[in-house]
């Protein structure tokens, strides 16, 4: 493990040098919205945020992604595999909760007989440069789900804002190699590391929301037909923002688009939409918001736990912050854990 420091004013230089060999994805701010984008000329990284509005999942799992292009010509049909990005990438400025989401998504996309190369190839070629969270929001609950504001899971490097400068901590060998490319970075002093430790402790206590997920999975096993679902979905509008902004939600639709040669694309989809499970015959196994809300909660706290051993939620709180009717997943898990079931 190596510790380096860099003055904040010099950070754009480091970013500039990074772009020479990598596609660098950073948080940018536009119209008061912070989201991830590929760093390009005239764009500035914006690191003074609480958390980004959109999670960084789209760097590996874009909202619309071409799977292949097909051309129908005189020689018949030709298929051109859409480029699975092979270039080296750096994803910088990812909060620890979001970095953990990739640990979960990696498990999912690499599972089973058929691996999802579109996700995995991009992931494989990316150095994850996290950004510690000094000021968690009131809606954050990462500590309840195995994360922490200074957590390093899923990261190669961790950037820590120690007020006047940034402390860079290497986590993996890949992270160390990246730091070696910048010999001009100064070694951190003991005081810098101490400072970061203090900030980390403060941040940890600042995460006040506690969610009890212990035993929720087992409880949910017996709650499929519980009347609780009839209550909690009532105010849901079915807009799907909770799933679109969720760093772990990754359901998609596959369809063809016409254009210069047709395209097979996949686009984000949501279990909160009625047509998600609507069958050709008109039958829908999840006919109302009740079943769809239940699916979302069950997937995160029961089904994924059974298949992959942990909850499919990292406690980023986006679904809580952005829900237009203030549905709160923390309250739902609380209602489940305190529910009396037969």
């Amino acid at each position: 493990m190596k510790w380096k420091v860099i003055e904040k004013s010099k950070f754009p230089i480091l970013l500039g040098e990074l772009t020479e060999e990598h596609d660098v994805f950073v948080p940018v701010k536009e119209k008061n919205i912070v989201f991830f984008e590929r760093l390009s000329l005239g764009r500035e990284a914006y690191l003074d945020f609480r958390n980004t509005k959109k999670p960084p999942k789209e760097v590996f799992f874009p909202q619309t992604e071409t799977l292949f292009i097909h051309r129908i010509g005189k020689k018949g049909v030709e298929i051109e595999e859409a480029l699975i990005v092979k270039g080296k990438r750096v994803l910088l400025g990812v909060r620890p909760c979001d970095a953990r989401s990739f640990v979960l998504l990696d498990k999912f996309f690499s599972s089973g007989e058929h691996k999802d190369l579109y996700y995995l190839e991009k992931r494989k070629n990316t150095t994850m440069f996290g950004l510690a969270c000094n000021h968690p929001l009131s809606t954050c609950f990462c500590t309840s789900l195995g994360g922490s504001p200074f957590g390093k899971e899923g990261m190669d490097l961790l950037l820590q804002d120690i007020n006047d400068k940034y402390l860079i901590e290497t986590v993996t060998e890949r992270g160390e190699k990246l730091v070696e490319k910048f010999p001009w970075l100064k070694d951190a002093e003991k005081a810098d590391i101490e400072k970061a430790k203090k900030l980390s402790e403060e941040a940890e206590t600042a995460v006040r929301s506690k969610v009890s997920v212990k035993g929720v999975s087992q409880k949910l096993d017996r709650m499929f037909d519980d009347p609780l679902w009839d209550q909690i979905y009532q105010k849901c509008l079915g807009c799907g923002i909770c799933t679109f902004l969720c760093p772990t939600c990754c359901c998609f639709d596959v369809l063809d688009e016409e254009g210069d040669g047709g395209k097979r694309v996949r686009i984000w989809d949501s279990c909160q939409f009625s047509c998600f499970t609507l069958q050709g015959s008109g039958y829908n196994p999840r006919p109302s918001g009740k079943e769809r809300m239940r699916q979302r909660i069950m997937h995160k706290f029961s089904y994924f736990v059974k298949n992959f051993g942990e909850s499919f939620c990292v406690g980023c709180g986006r679904c809580v912050r952005e829900c237009p009717v203030n549905l709160d997943i923390r309250e739902i898990t609380k209602a489940i854990s305190t529910r009396q079931v037969k």
Binding site: G112, H114, F252, V254, R266, P285
Partner: protein, 279 residues
């Protein structure tokens, strides 16, 4: 590692209209690449993703038997965007096929035993694959008595009339074809599948039942099988769910923690009893 989303190119060699109203057709496909055709090894009850370029992709059960070499068949009802586009295709059109996917029917478990196949409507496609497979001269001795119950709304809706005719002439299959209501000129069985099953009353001794059909048929067939003494672990159902990717990634065909595309589509009734009733 190969990319699972890229389909093989296949030519529609033959199109057979299966029903009177002409919305069910059987498409016979041959892969453009003979190597890919050879590599496409499937089991009865598996499905594949069929692409019509420009229209999209949809999952369809394989209707041919694994013993049919050099081609595969799909029997397709015109329902949505892709199946309508397929129905508009002519012989010679190039489409895409990827797969096979899913678990298929439990053939090993069926060996040396009596087999009861119960199907309704155009869900009979993979059951036709299974029936053809069992009746093949290479395989017939591996299974004991074969009872098939197949129902359709009316005679015009019965698919595979050419197969039914040939099977009807054999003495190594107890074939029961039924239609829902009396129709002039129809001399065969009349009645819903569960009622015909009850009447036929195949023995549950050393037997296994394979069921595929619309939800309403399944609902009334299960109690009959139970009455006949079929334990839940000897009844297998092939399920349908809306699917996109076919490989357990797009996230929509789950029933509880199981995905119909990769853990199914065939489940023992005993398994289903443990799963949430959301299908």
């Amino acid at each position: 590692m190969s990319n699972p989303y890229i389909p093989n190119l296949a030519i529609i060699r033959k199109i057979t209209t299966e029903n009177e109203v002409n919305d069910i057709k059987t498409f016979e496909l041959v892969f453009q690449d003979p190597e890919a055709m050879k590599k496409f090894k499937y089991r009865c009850g598996q499905f594949a993703e069929i692409s019509v370029f420009g229209a999209g992709e949809c999952p369809l059960g394989i209707a041919s038997s694994p013993m049919d070499e050099g081609y595969i068949q799909f029997t397709i009802k015109k329902v949505g965007v892709v199946t309508t586009a397929l129905h508009n295709c002519e012989e010679g059109t190039v489409i895409g096929v990827r797969g096979p996917y899913g678990n298929g029917f439990p053939l090993e478990r069926m060996e040396g035993r009596n087999v009861v196949i119960v199907g309704g409507g155009f869900a009979f496609t993979t059951l036709r694959s299974l029936t053809k497979f069992i009746l093949h001269e290479v395989n017939r001795d591996r299974f004991r008595d074969l009872t098939v119950i197949y129902g359709a709304r009316n005679p015009g809706e019965l698919a595979y009339k050419y197969d039914l005719e040939a099977w009807g002439k054999r003495d190594d299959i107890n074939l029961n074809v039924t239609i829902d209501r009396v129709v002039p000129g129809w001399t065969g069985l009349v009645g819903f599948v569960p009622a015909v099953l009850k009447e036929t009353a195949p023995s549950s001794e050393n037997a296994i039942a394979i069921v595929c059909g619309p939800p309403i048929m399944i609902k009334f067939t299960m109690p009959v099988l139970n009455e006949l003494g079929f334990p839940p672990e000897e009844v297998f159902l092939s399920l349908e769910m809306r699917m996109k990717c076919g490989i357990g990634k797009c996230g929509r065909c789950n029933i509880g923690d199981k995905f119909v595309c990769k853990d199914g589509p065939v489940f023992a009734y005993k398994e289903l009893e443990m799963m949430p009733k959301e299908y």
